[in-house]
Symmetry: C2
Subunit: 135 residues, 2 copies
């Protein structure tokens, strides 16, 4: 699994990590700011909407949503709470398992996502194109 580690391999690894760190910091900051200013949602909120749109069924259980995101269960719970407060998703009970909660995109949520996605792509195009492009 882990290949042999030369001295140059170590510094190469550190360099890669710094690249990732730089890229993430720049892009996530710009993205968060743009989404917040233009659409009143943060990156985490957008990610949730995005997952819901991607899912063919439009509604997902919290648990499945959590698995698809880089967010703790508690953070997800609060993010969905914010989305619900803003009328972008609904939380529905699940008849089969009354512990589970279905998160369902509303019409407003779908519309907000559509508009936010174009902002996201613009930001990515601006900040991810200019990357060191070590690919």
């Amino acid at each position: 699994m882990v290949r042999a580690m030369t001295e140059t391999g170590e510094t190469e690894l550190v360099r890669r990590w710094r690249d990732v760190l730089a890229c993430y910091s720049t892009v996530s900051c710009a993205l968060d700011r743009a989404l917040q200013e233009t659409h009143g949602i943060g990156m985490s909120e957008f990610e949730v909407l995005d997952r819901l749109v991607d899912a063919s069924c439009d509604d997902l259980r919290m648990h499945d949503l959590a698995g698809a995101m880089y967010l703790s269960q508690s953070a997800l719970s609060r993010t969905v709470a914010r989305l619900e407060r803003d009328g972008l998703v609904e939380r529905c009970l699940c008849a089969e398992d009354r512990r589970a909660i279905f998160v369902k995109l509303t019409a407003a949520g779908r519309e907000r996502h559509t508009r936010a996605r174009s902002t996201q792509r613009a930001v990515l195009a601006e900040h991810l194109m200019a990357e060191p492009a070590r690919a």
Copy 2:
């Protein structure tokens, strides 16, 4: 600056962003946890120590430190405050410009960094090697 944007270019960009997000989340989480458990410092604290060691002079002004890090000025101020509380750095006044603060590595700070760095490299080796490796 921004090149023409094809449909496939857009989804490619989103894919790249998701890769960065996944990589950052996984590694930063593992790194933060490992550093905290083993050495009692977080990622930001380690980054500050790392910058100080990298700088040949061992002490940097807050302002220069801030420029080298992905952290707001206020966050840096508090990070340095934590490092000072733990005896890993000292804050020294600057005679030439009495607004400025020099941040200086202590012996304990240098030692902590040395040990923490090996943890960092182990974590990077474990989590950054196995990456999709799209390079």
